[in-house]
């Protein structure tokens, strides 16, 4: 019993001492932990302060950035405004310059036009003078040529007409001579005389018409002359066939004369 009690006392004493020392260790550990807690709290406080500082810094940066953005925006607007003003100014200057150039060009063109008009007037005047000179010389030449032609024509016509007259007279003399005349009846004498007078009259009238250029009248007398020739031939029983030929020749020659005369008047109106 004593031993057991002693043992128990020893054990309880050991347990109590162990508890005591463990308590001391725990106390020490707790102090240490408390120190760590203080350090952590300080770190937390520092971190929070740093965070708050960063937040403030960010707010300040936000403000600066926004201010910069607004400022840049204003600058851009100002640049755009100035650029537009500059462009408008340049456009205005260009417009004024073009206007001035246009005016100068218009004045130059006006001067050139006046100069050209003056030149044209001068040229026209010269042409007119030249034309008048040419006209005068041409007219003079034409007059001269017309006079020459008229003279030549007159000579030719006179000559031709004279030949016609002579030939006609010769034909008349030939066909109305006694040798060519073979009367069939006594009463024919009067008729032959009448035809002879008619022949002379119609020949003369035809020549006059040919001289005047009256083709209608010439045709009338020419046909009458042909009728006279036919009558003569009939009365002389076919002895005066050449008389018809002469009348036909007279008619054809007169036509040729009239045709030539008409052609001449057409060529030289």
């Amino acid at each position: 019993m004593d031993t057991l009690l002693k043992l128990l006392a020893v054990l309880t004493l050991i347990w109590g001492g162990w508890m005591y020392f463990k308590n001391a260790d725990c106390d020490t550990e707790l102090k240490k932990i408390h120190n760590e807690l203080k350090v952590a709290e300080q770190e937390f406080s520092d971190a929070q302060a740093a965070y708050d500082a960063e937040v403030k810094k960010r707010e300040a940066l936000d403000g600066e950035v926004n201010a910069l953005k607004e400022n840049n925006q204003e600058l851009k607007k100002e640049i755009a405004l100035k650029t537009r003003e500059k462009r408008e100014r340049a456009i205005q200057e260009r417009r004024e310059r073009l206007e001035a150039e246009r005016k100068a060009r218009a004045e130059e063109l006006e001067k050139e036009r006046e100069h050209r008009i003056a030149l044209l007037d001068r040229e026209e005047q010269l042409e007119k003078e030249e034309k008048e000179r040419d006209e005068a010389s041409r007219k003079e030449e034409e007059d001269q040529m017309a006079a020459e032609r008229s003279e030549r024509e007159k000579e030719w016509k006179d000559k031709r007409l004279q030949k016609m007259i002579e030939r006609s007279e010769r034909a008349m003399e030939r066909h109305l001579s006694s040798s060519a005349y073979v009367p069939g009846d006594v009463n024919d004498y009067g008729q032959i005389e009448k035809l002879k007078q008619n022949w002379t009259t119609f020949v003369q009238a035809g020549i006059d018409a040919a001289k005047k250029g009256d083709s209608k009248r010439f045709e009338t007398f020419g046909r009458k002359l042909l009728n006279v020739a036919r009558s003569l031939n009939r009365i002389s029983k076919g002895q005066n066939a050449d008389c018809i030929k002469d009348a036909t020749d007279f008619l054809s020659e007169g036509r040729e004369i009239l045709k030539a005369k008409k052609q001449l008047s057409k060529d030289n109106p």
Partner: protein, 84 residues
């Protein structure tokens, strides 16, 4: 004599028991405090880490870059404005 010794032993035993029990309960409180404090420290460290990481999410560097870019742009715009 033995009786006194035994009484003394009993007293010792009783004192040891009460003292041990006292310190035992004290130890339990201390351990609980230690545990709570460690948890608190752990939570604080997490919060510190979270706070530090929050700082990174604030985008200060981006804002600084943006500010630098805007400042350069402002300089260029000023030069451009002067050249007009």
């Amino acid at each position: 004599m033995d009786k006194f010794i035994n009484i003394g032993l009993i007293v010792v035993i009783i004192a040891s028991i009460f003292g041990g029990r006292y310190y035992y309960s004290q130890n339990l409180n201390l351990e609980s405090s230690i545990e709570n404090t460690q948890k608190k420290i752990e939570r604080l460290r997490k919060e510190i880490t979270a706070t530090k990481s929050k700082v990174n999410t604030l985008g200060i560097r981006q804002l600084n870059n943006e500010k630098s870019r805007l400042e350069k742009q402002q300089e260029q715009l000023k030069k451009q404005l002067e050249s007009i």
